[in-house]
């Protein structure tokens, strides 16, 4: 008698590759009945995974249309069987798949739209963290300003879009035709979850993006001001930085403001 291992191995191969070895393992009065019974499982497998792609990448589906999306579904399901306990992660490799697989790799905007949709999911179920407000900034002693660092909400994400992917996403979301794909204007985007637990995103200009990237990576206020010298005169840099930080606090992006003295606990002797 075959072992449980062999049986499960054949069954999984049947689901993922349609291998024919499965038939001899089950009871059926006829070849036709055998096929009907096995098809129930095979169809359910494909439909379930297809539904995840459709739900998680609804806008990509609208952008591609049914035929190309269907081709993508077949290719992705065949090449990326799920290794996760939750279907939440089934499409994690979709942006890479689109970037590397013909004919989708001819249209880099596709991978970008998929990346954006996955980032929105990350924003949706990122961890919780209590926010801080302007009062912590006001309470900061002047000598602590240069070494001040910001801690961001776990939902905060930055995305660089080389193509007009997010404009296309927005158009399709409101059921209007997307613009022709174009890489004429690269744009940075900020995504986060607001206090009503709604996912938000907005474009950020080059100076704010430079500032955000450094702040998110934990750089000090003095380093933030320094990077702004690429865009602003020296006497305005700290004011511009402060204006952006105030905006971030208002938008619920910041959970903590730490200064150097708090950051490094004194050594115990």
């Amino acid at each position: 008698m075959q072992t449980l291992r062999e049986l499960q191995s054949r069954f999984i191969n049947y689901l993922t590759e349609g291998s024919a070895e499965m038939g001899s393992m089950i009871y059926a009065d006829s070849q036709a009945e055998q096929q009907l019974r096995l098809d129930i499982y095979k169809n359910a497998y494909r439909i379930r995974l297809r539904q995840v792609l459709e739900t998680d990448h609804e806008i990509l589906w609208a952008y591609l249309g049914d035929a190309l999306f269907g081709q993508m579904v077949n290719g992705y399901i065949a090449s990326h069987p799920s290794h996760h306990t939750s279907l939440r992660n089934f499409c994690d490799q979709l942006p890479d798949y689109l970037a590397d697989t013909s004919p989708f790799d001819q249209h880099p905007i596709l991978a970008e739209i998929a990346t954006f949709e996955r980032l929105l999911m990350d924003v949706f179920d990122a961890g919780e963290a209590e926010l801080t407000d302007l009062s912590t900034l006001r309470a900061l002693k002047p000598e602590n300003w240069p070494t001040m660092r910001l801690r961001f909400h776990p939902s905060v994400q930055l995305l660089q879009a080389d193509w007009n992917s997010i404009e296309s996403w927005k158009a399709l979301k409101t059921e209007t035709d997307p613009p022709a794909a174009s890489d004429a204007a690269s744009q940075h985007w900020l995504l986060w979850r607001d206090t009503d637990r709604l996912s938000q995103f907005r474009p950020v200009e080059a100076d704010e993006h430079a500032l955000l990237s450094l702040a998110v990576s934990g750089k000090e206020f003095s380093a933030l001001c320094e990077t702004l010298l690429n865009w602003h005169p020296v006497n305005e840099a700290s004011m511009v930085a402060l204006r952006y930080i105030t905006e971030w606090l208002d938008q619920g992006l910041i959970t903590k403001i730490v200064s150097d003295t708090e950051n490094h606990a004194p050594q115990l002797v």
């Binding site: 499960q8 359910a44 799920s82 306990t85 939750s86 279907l87 179920d125 919780e128 637990r197």
Partner: protein
């Protein structure tokens, strides 16, 4: 333990009549606190760091008992037990404090490929030994008895040497776990395999039955498919009535995962279940968390 003495099976106190907690109803439940005794949540949907699902679950938990129902334990798999998954499950259980935790008597993955389906097991001694041992490991890890649910199936393996009810009964005894009896799954499998559903019920050890599931299904040619997208149909109500006659009142919930109607419609269905139960639920003071019956 004194040999020859059969100790009673310790079950969890009953919860009454519940529904599945589903995304479209989050806000309604929180706003209106509908008359539902408890909610069943799909564990995997809440194994995320934060956001709306966790927010609503925490709020709703303040007002209702909750049981955790999983689909990814893959208890019958020949892959090693997924302790990463079990740790997440335990963490969630520590936060949610569920009345109990259930999953399915099936397998879902092999070679680390997850079918995300509840695939049937061949019912024989080798499988019995393999699965019972894994259930015991899971129960030791979680520090509590779990419930194993019978699944719908569409095929019978040549490797099976016993019926599903024999297998389920034996698993529950050997693993010392509890049973979540899905009435719809019994009906669906009975139609697909040509057995009498009453016969299935008669062979289940009542003292291990902790919970019932009710649900709807869909006909596809000669087969019934367990779709959870329809109201509970008459034959399932009839089988539920028989189950109540045999087991007495058992904690019951209605599963609806697709084609989800307004909350009040599900509440109406739940009241139909309520109306079929004429005796009070037996209260029990026993605590299955300490499932070592021989400790004083």
């Amino acid at each position: 333990m004194v040999s020859g003495v059969i100790l009673p099976v310790m079950t969890y106190p009953p919860l009454g009549f519940g529904l599945g907690l589903r995304v479209p109803h989050f806000e309604h439940v929180l706003q209106h606190k509908p008359p539902v005794d408890w909610f069943e949540v799909l564990s995997e949907n809440y194994m995320v760091a934060g956001g709306k699902p966790r927010y609503y679950l925490n709020r709703i938990r303040e007002h209702y008992p909750v049981a955790m129902h999983g689909v990814s334990l893959s208890i019958g798999s020949t892959d090693p037990l997924d302790f990463d998954y079990l740790r997440k499950l335990k963490t969630l259980a520590n936060e949610v404090q569920p009345a109990w935790i259930s999953d399915h008597l099936c397998w879902t993955s092999c070679h680390n490929i997850n079918s995300h389906d509840l695939l049937p097991l061949p019912y024989n001694e080798a499988t019995l030994k393999h699965v019972a041992e894994r259930i015991r490991q899971v129960q030791d890890f979680l520090g509590r008895r779990i419930l194993m649910e019978n699944v719908s199936s569409y095929l019978t393996y040549r490797a099976s040497e016993m019926t599903e009810w024999e297998f389920l009964t034996a698993i529950a005894e050997q693993a010392d776990c509890l049973i979540l009896l899905d009435i719809n799954n019994i009906y669906v499998s009975a139609c697909n395999h040509g057995f009498q559903p009453e016969y299935y019920l008669q062979h289940i050890n009542a003292s291990r039955v902790q919970q019932f599931h009710l649900a709807g299904h869909t006909r596809q040619g000669d087969f019934l498919i367990d779709t959870h997208d329809q109201p509970v149909p008459d034959p399932v109500w009839a089988l539920y009535t028989q189950a109540l006659a045999q087991f007495g009142p058992v904690t019951t919930m209605i599963e609806r995962d697709d084609n989800i109607p307004a909350f009040d419609e599900l509440l109406g269905e739940l009241n139909q279940a309520r109306s079929l139960v004429h005796k009070p639920f037996a209260k029990t003071e026993q605590h299955p968390e300490s499932h070592h019956a021989d400790t004083p």
